[in-house]
Symmetry: C2
């Protein structure tokens, strides 16, 4: 009980500090913010050895706990990865500042002039997996967009995150408490935090379904979830099969552990006999385990059978499920039923099929003749991103600086009243 | 237990029906939607007597229960109010359709063409007070923006809402289940509904703080709250006092029961002696009860003392609290502490004071020399509104057709993959 009250009070104090910092942050000019970001990058590079030492402690503990190779890989920092952290801060410095941008100016018949102008959201809480680079990237993006941030990274990365946030906070000119890391690794702290809607304006959970569901259930603060990507690519009857092969291969193999990677391949029955042998052979060469529906197995028998669970699974790994479909309608149905609204693609030369697919698929990004891996802030020309929103409200798809702002209306009158 | 399971299943069935309807709605063309809206308006007018009869039953019950005069007034329909309902549907028909609008087209160096295009949100649940006109307006706006809507109006208006939604649903061409009213008045039904984030994309609660808090606590669906407006007007030392008088009078008296009406007046000490007597006299003539801080009472003694509770209260009535402040900084502090982020105004001829007020006040709309009553979709030129959002995410301030949409990215490739 006593401990619980302590944690609660600590979270309230932290949130109040963030709120005060956010007022200061909202007033910083763009050049000042950019110079602070560049100094953050310098600080990270200068103290890279300290970061590596802290990271080694995290890795040792993770190995002791027997965590998965994939998790340890995401947790591990190298000199190159630290240089990329610094680079990402400089990139954020070079991006245009959305704060203060006038989105629309209206002059009303009564003479009222109304400006809709971008302002920071205020205080953002971010809950994420054990990837120390996210600590840097999220801090940089939140700061540039004028927001205070409260970070809760995966407990496995706690030592790395502590030194990184210490370095960032040591940057000259950065308002106090602009970046705060939750010191405890307890879930209780997070649950208390999620009730503080008086001080915190937005929570971004990024991670597995369990985390997202917990945050949705517990939070009274608006949530923008960065949840799973169960992405499909449909190879239509009218596809260019060479192109289809390159796109499917890229979407599955180039980086299988991320949310915009391909998980289920849908293939039109009329081209299945021609297309499946070549793509399956190519994928197998790359170490991909292929699981197929009965029709797929009739063409290539030496593969595992895909079952209902497969259609529902985001493998995040070198596994691919394949289904042969009768046509576009069945592909759309399958995507509507199993897709997570993240990234979906069609490969076709048929304009009508492409237009129907674009119109009817409900996802953050719908691709024609391109890899789902391209659903990314950088690839879309939005600059760095804090993640890819799988929600429809406020931000959908890549969430960059602009999506970390809100707006207010500035109304200039000369005595106007409501008639 | 059995009843609870029944309600839960009923809500799931309703949400699934809405989801299916939303897919059909997303595909309707603008002319078809507009013609349906005009037919809805005709239906409302044609069956006005049935609406009035149902409404009389609601009013009788409300009077029996001893409900407040203000509530009964909001509940009551007249021929004029029914005509205004029909008019609002025709107005929505005349507004531009946001669905399908291209927000941005980008061509990337690799040749990818990316279109950011507006699409409906999907399924919206709206929980609101006993105002039958809101049933019509929310249905019209949701339909025009391509969304299915599930309505839960105040139980006092249930008979009126039943006949209104029946009439709307009788409109030829309207997809089945585009508009659904929760038949039961139980709060359990709402709580079950708020967990159905698999089918419902957005919940809009509109009403008192108790309702908003319940929805925030219970909902796993994203919420856009339409909560209270504790609005201030600050009369600066450099104000034109004639203008200040008109604006303050309008903001308080023109329609005191709404969220953008004035609740607390802040007056610069240097002009208090000159301004307070005239404005208080004028307000008293209009039947306003004035409560003042000690300094106000030193100037006009025959008023009630305002206490801490007054600064925190949204009266929604002919009551006004007044505080004399030392200057702009104290006014800003008071607003930061007690304001609800809805509508705030400064009356001044001093450009620097105005700019500081505009910059530092964190509210959906900040006014210079105008009445807070103008924070309204119609007045802002956005057309009809479903309400005024007091949240920062997705929609802030007046929430019209555009704010009832989201977007998706359509990506046109020629074989592009991620490098």
């Amino acid at each position: 009980m006593g401990v619980k009250v302590d944690i609660k009070n600590e979270m309230i104090r932290m949130a109040k500090r963030a709120k005060r910092a956010s007022e200061e942050l909202a007033r910083l000019s763009t050049p000042v913010k950019n110079s602070i970001l560049k100094n953050m990058a310098r600080g990270i590079l200068k103290r890279k050895k300290e970061i590596l030492r802290a990271n080694e402690r995290d890795i040792k503990l993770a190995k002791k706990k027997g965590l998965s190779k994939a998790l340890i890989d995401r947790l591990t920092l190298t000199l190159l990865r630290i240089r990329n952290m610094a680079k990402s801060l400089r990139e954020v410095a070079s991006l245009p500042d959305p704060v203060g941008r006038i989105m629309r100016t209206t002059r009303r018949p009564n003479g009222l002039v109304i400006k809709k102008v971008r302002v920071p959201i205020g205080v953002i809480a971010m809950i994420y997996e054990a990837r120390p680079n996210v600590t840097v990237e999220a801090s940089g993006l939140a700061f540039k967009s004028g927001n205070a941030i409260i970070l809760k990274g995966g407990s496995e990365a706690q030592n790395s995150n502590l030194i990184i946030t210490k370095i960032l906070n040591g940057t000259k000119g950065l308002p106090e408490n602009a970046i705060q890391l939750i010191g405890t690794t307890s879930r209780k702290a997070v649950k208390e935090l999620l009730r503080l809607d008086d001080y915190i304006d937005l929570v971004i959970p990024r991670g597995g379904e369990g985390l997202i569901q917990m945050v949705r259930r517990e939070s009274t603060i608006p949530v923008i979830a960065h949840a799973k990507g169960l992405c499909h690519t449909y190879v239509d009857r009218d596809a260019n099969l060479d192109m289809a092969e390159e796109i499917v291969y890229n979407a599955k193999v180039q980086r299988p552990g991320v949310c915009n990677a391909l998980e289920t391949l849908l293939v039109h029955k009329d081209i299945a006999k021609k297309f499946l042998p070549r793509i399956i052979e190519r994928l197998k060469e790359a170490g991909v385990e292929v699981r197929g529906c009965p029709k797929t197995k009739r063409i290539i028998s030496q593969i595992k059978r895909a079952n209902e669970i497969d259609w529902q699974t985001e493998y995040l790994n070198l596994v691919l499920s394949i289904k042969v479909v009768k046509g576009l309608a069945e592909a759309l149905n399958h995507i509507s039923r199993y897709g997570s609204g993240h990234s979906e693609a069609i490969i076709t030369r048929n304009k009508r099929a492409a237009e129907r697919f674009l119109k009817e698929v409900d996802a953050s990004a719908v691709f024609v003749n391109a890899s789902t891996r391209l659903n990314d802030g950088g690839e879309f020309g939005l600059g760095a991103e804090i993640g890819i929103s799988t929600q429809k409200l406020h931000a959908r798809g890549p969430m960059g600086l602009e999506e970390l702002t809100t707006y207010k209306y500035l109304v200039y009158g000369k005595g106007q009243v409501r008639e």
